[in-house]
Every structure is written in C-alpha cells, then in structure tokens.
Amino acid sequence: MAVDEIVFWVFAPISIGSAIAMLLQRNAVHAALFLVVNFFTIAVFYLVLGASFLFAVQIIVYAGAIMVLFLFVIMLLGVDREETLVERLRGQRVMAVGLGAGIAIEIVVAIRAGIGFATKAPANFDETVNRGGNAQALARVLFRQYFFPFEVTSVLLIVAAVAVVVLASRQRRAITRAEAVSSGHREAA
C-alpha cells in the first residue's frame, strides 16, 4: 500500500462523515465546525493530488476566511437558534435524499463509463508538470494563458467588496429611521 493510498482511505471517510454530520446538526455553529473539518480533508486531497498551492489556499481562504465569516454571521444572528425538525413540505426529505443519491449514482456511472475505475494518474507529475514546484508551475500558467480571467477576477473581488459596503450602509440608515418612527415620534422625521 503506497502512502497516498493510506492517506486517501483515511481521509475519505472523514470527509464524507463530516459532510453528513454537518447536514444533521441542529445547531448552526456545530454545522460550521464540521464543515471546517471537511475543508481540511479536501485540502489534504489537494496535496495528495499534487496541488500544493491549492492545499495552502484552501486552508487559508476557505477554512480560514470564509468559514470565519460564516461564524461571525451565525453569532450575529443568534447562536442559540435551533432549527425545528418539522418538515412542512410533504415528501421533501424523501425526494431530496432520493434525488441526491440519484445524482451521486449517475456521476459514478458516468465515471465508470468514461475513465473507468482502474485508471491511475501518470506517475511523473511532479517532474513534468510541477517543474520547479507547484506554485511556480501554476504561476507560469496563470499569468500567461489565464491572465485575462485573472484580472477579471480581481475586478470581481473589488465589486463584491463595494457591494457589501453599500448594502451594509444603506441598512443602517433605514434601520435608524425605522427605529425612530417606532420609538414614539420623539424626534421630528
């Protein structure tokens, strides 16, 4: 058994298990934490697959930034809020699980029909593709072939930041006004 195999077979169940656990948690904070675990496992997978840069980015950005943001908002909105277990839509759960299983099966079948379960990755990935390390190789591709998408993505980030600022500030003014009105007309409008 090679090392990567062991790693795979250890982390795959953790990955899937934490995902299912996230699904079943009534408390949102617990769910977020399980998702963080899941992200870690995926980062490990990236490493195994020879994407070291992504391994780092996954942890820093996803687990470190995004999930933290999630947790902030959860706290903001009431950390002790627990979801009711009553399902109002008839058949939703059954259908959802069924269809979910269906999707998974379909993809697996497609894989089997496509690449087959036996295909292994070419062995000399680190020498040929990742020449000079994964980051350098990635940079070579990113800043040449994918330069334009790279720039566009930067613009996207800026836009997102601006949008959030706008959303947040408008909210504050509206709430101030609403608060003033509901608190008994103590000030002139």
Binding site: A2, D4, F8, I16, A19, M22, L23, Q25, A28, F39, I42, F45, Y46, V48, L49, A51, F53, L54, V57, V61, Y62, A65, F70, V73, L76, L77, E83, T84, Q92, R93, M95, A96, L99, A101, I103, A104, I107, V108, I111, I115, A118, T119, K120, A121, P122, F125, V129, A137, Q145, Y146, T153, L156, L157, V159, A160, A161, A163, V164, Q171, I175
Partner: protein, 101 residues
C-alpha cells in the same frame, strides 16, 4: 500515485450529493449556504483530480478561480442574509414566501 483517479471523483460526487441534499433539507439560510460551499468544494476536488489525470494545470487554475469567486460570493450572500434577517427577524428560508403564486 497509486490510487485510481476515479476514487477521488467518486468522493467528489458524494460530497456534491450531500451538499445538494443539505440545500433542500435545511431551513436555516446559513446552513443552506454552507451546503452550497460544500458543493463548490466537491467540484473543485473533481477539477483537481482530473487535472492530475490529464497532466495539465488548467484544472487547478480553474479550481483556483472558483475559490476566489466563492469567496466573493460568500461575502455578498452573507450580507444579503443579514439584511433579510434584519427585515424579518427570521433566518428561516420557509418564511420567505412573498413570491408565491
């Protein structure tokens, strides 16, 4: 690497399915959002796996971009959720039925 690539893709498929089920089953908007993130991650995993199989870094690049965009999306989405919460004092998706027919 001696693990067949298909196994990674299978894991990715299962994670994707779990994420989908989560979107459909949970009522808390934040948890739904987290399930969406799970789906995105599953797809990223598949991309990287195939990139490894083909010996090509394009998959990794796309996964990278996907992460960036996911980050931006999370930011905006959470802002929206907070706004909606402020209006309705509820984070439950089932209470948002204004568009019913």
């Amino acid at each position: 690497m001696s693990t067949p690539i298909a196994y990674f893709v299978a894991v990715s498929a299962m994670l994707f399915a779990i994420g989908t089920v989560g979107v459909l089953i949970r009522k808390n908007a934040l948890v739904i959002f987290m399930s969406v993130e799970l789906q995105l991650n599953a797809v990223n995993l598949a991309l990287v796996a195939f990139s490894r199989m083909h010996g090509n870094l394009s998959g990794q690049v796309v996964a990278f971009f996907s992460m960036v965009v996911a980050a931006a999306e999370v930011v905006v989405g959470l802002a929206i959720i907070v706004t909606v919460y402020r209006r309705r004092q509820s984070a439950s998706v089932d209470d948002l039925t204004v568009l019913r027919g």
